[in-house]
Symmetry: C2
Subunit: 165 residues, 2 copies
């Protein structure tokens, strides 16, 4: 059974000075806190075979901090992880993996409310917005050996940074 982690990007700059939401970077505090979380993940023994990230700057930076902490060597941009993307794109991508790849541990870096909604859809088959996912927070799910599909995952972890650091 493979594991799937959803990680929300860290604290980002507000819109002042940035014409496009796409370009907003992590703040210094966001970098420090996200880096501390990444190091805590490593200390807990987490290791990802690959990271899929939203193309937005704040998500790319978050993925890079996970890589720097030694959690993963492979980062791939995944367009559907931009705000408002469709979880079906992830399911479709997953169905194209080889059996070995489908057994990998994969981390996904993205945005709220999408990550919480995607997780609920994978867990309970519907979206009710009952998962509180803080910035740099994480969701950990077990993926069914039958594959990634609606209502087929189980939740083993949800934590805000304050209850991890």
């Amino acid at each position: 059974m493979s594991q799937l982690y959803f990680i929300r990007h860290g604290i980002a700059a507000d819109h002042t000075g940035f014409e496009h939401d796409f370009d907003r970077p992590l703040t210094d505090q966001g970098i420090a806190k996200t880096s501390a979380i990444a190091q805590r993940f490593a200390a807990l023994g987490l290791c990802f075979d690959r990271i899929l990230t939203s193309p937005l700057v704040r998500a790319q930076q978050t993925a890079e901090l996970l890589r720097v902490a030694g959690l993963c060597g492979v980062i791939e941009e995944f367009g559907a992880l931009a705000p408002g993307g469709d979880v079906e794109a992830l399911v479709s991508w997953w169905s194209g993996l080889s059996p070995v790849q489908a057994g990998e541990t994969i981390a996904i870096v993205g945005h709220q409310p999408d990550l919480g909604q995607w997780a609920e859809w994978l867990l309970w088959g519907q979206t009710m917005e009952k998962l509180i996912v803080k910035k740099a927070g994480v969701i950990g799910m077990e993926v069914s050996p039958l594959g990634l599909a609606c209502g087929m995952c189980e939740l083993f972890w949800l934590t805000p940074p304050r209850l991890l650091l």
Copy 2:
């Protein structure tokens, strides 16, 4: 908004030597690990106004380890937390609290699969057994200001001990 924590008892002795399931105590490993979790809770700043516990020995011992770690001074036995109890008993008990008491942070010590099922009912209004709750694991929920009822809570924390210690 008050917070409600569900905490599963620690690792207990198997049935050998115990005529009644009720009497099975925590093992030495169970005591050590549950105590470490309790101390970690305290280090994270958790503090409960009261603990409701299942009457079974392994749950009572777990509640006592939380008390010893300084998390709470008040432990109350709650019969419906024995295996197979009904979440409606908790909702009924909650509805009898004063407004001040209903704003308290309450921890509940009990058993699987009940804790996971109760949590799902409080969060999503139905039970699908999608929460993995390990021994000495914890579920943290925000309770709606409207009260404790079916589908009215939000999940902010779920963690096994291995991802906390």
